[in-house]
Symmetry: C2
Subunit: 261 residues, 2 copies
């Protein structure tokens, strides 16, 4: 007996930025296209690349850097689209912790991270801001960085987490909600892939001649232009959310302005 | 690139009776045996039989009746062990609902069920207690029967749910906690398989010549004898839990008595 169901493995338990997948399933968009999708969730996010890369599961979600690293490690993985037009990994902390947008305030602090790449990212980010390895304590937290922060197990943390609490490491943490980065057209964004590829090279994860394994060839709808200013999108999303909180309604961040939908 | 990880799909999101699987993973029992297990959770329990049966996922959990029905439908599935020595599907309800252990009290009530087999079970159980189809309203609830009850969407429900709230349909609902049914040796219990097979025939799911697709041949440890009186086990578990609630400690229900471990 065979099955025509496509197995789709999320990168972690259901989380807000998975919304497009669950909405498509719940609203019947897959069924409309004659596609049957069985959505699976991993118990350990470290399994995902290997299970998809070896073909045991058909498709799935994984962060940009993991997708690139999968190819570098020999898994024949191709990225056919992005949920987010901008990576939203960032340093997050409690306002009450005394940490400030000046990353130097992380001196002497315990900094949580998810796994292997998170550690590389923390070390790179700290070095970039003049902190040596002895100046902070990295703590592996798995996917529960936010919980580790709120429990007091760490003072700050880096990782993919709930979008509302995350901001890009290239901006002052913690920034406004990053829902602005959810992609409307699901396209891979060359700017971000180039950036992440360069970042992967800097971290020593990718070789100098690495060619990114992404494509937009499977998307047959018109693609939006790249955002000219993602940080401004984020500010506009924060304003939009304040407006909705005050006045209600269902609104969407347009390419340049707020539109009623 | 291949993988030596075994994919293991649970029948639903992590739930108390999955404890043996998650404990084995967390405590390294699989690793001790040189086995790598990637635990996956489904988003829709209706996908599980087909995905395992078609070989897209290696192993998994599924209720006895689904395992039997899978074979009847041509999926080459074999059951190699049981989490529970006794099925704990049952009718559950709120004490405040006016429903009593007399199933006749379900007359005129809305009765929730999980899916296809749950509907057959409800109809069979009601007919067995003298209620016709017009005497009650069956309501499909998916895996959230307990939530539907507590929300007031239904008056009672049948289904696999959290063991502490479930009792067997062969006993007065709602019985004491059914943790007593967690299997210590993980064996398939011939008595229950025979019972479920007969039940499957009565429901019209299995043919008269159906041979159950279970085996204990893969278990290479000594198997406990069958429980002589599962209902008494359940009562003793309730007593044990009261005792632990009063006096603390970590205790286990022995074959005949409570033992300190």
């Amino acid at each position: 007996m065979s099955t025509d169901k496509i197995t789709f493995l999320t990168n972690w338990h259901a989380t807000p930025y998975h919304a497009p997948l669950f909405l498509a399933q719940a609203k019947g968009f897959f069924a409309d296209e004659g596609v049957k999708v069985a959505i699976l969730e991993p118990n350990d996010p470290s399994d995902v690349t290997e299970i998809i890369g070896s073909g045991k599961v058909d498709m799935g979600f994984k962060a940009m850097i993991h997708t690139l690293a999968a190819k570098a490690r020999g898994f024949p993985i191709v990225s056919v689209g992005s949920l987010l037009d901008e990576p939203f990994t960032g340093i997050v902390y409690l306002k009450s912790s005394g940490i400030t947008p000046d990353l130097g305030s992380l001196r002497g602090k315990r900094i949580g991270y998810v796994g292997e790449f998170g550690k590389l990212q923390v070390d790179d980010l700290m070095a970039h801001h003049g902190l040596a390895a002895a100046d902070y304590t990295p703590v592996r937290c798995g996917m529960n960085v936010t919980r580790a922060i709120t429990r007091g197990d760490v003072d700050a943390g880096i990782g993919l987490d709930k979008p509302p609490t995350s901001s890009s490491p290239t901006r002052a943490p913690p920034g406004p909600p990053s829902f602005a980065y959810l992609s409307r057209d699901l396209k891979n964004v060359p700017r971000d892939w180039d950036k992440v590829t360069r970042y992967g090279r800097r971290l020593g994860v990718l070789g100098d001649d690495f060619v990114p394994n992404y494509t937009n060839d499977f998307l047959d709808w018109p693609l939006d232009p790249d955002s000219a200013d993602p940080a401004d999108d984020q500010r506009r999303m924060a304003d939009l959310q304040k407006d909705v909180a005050c006045r209600g309604g269902f609104k969407r961040l347009g390419a340049a302005e707020v539109v009623e939908v």
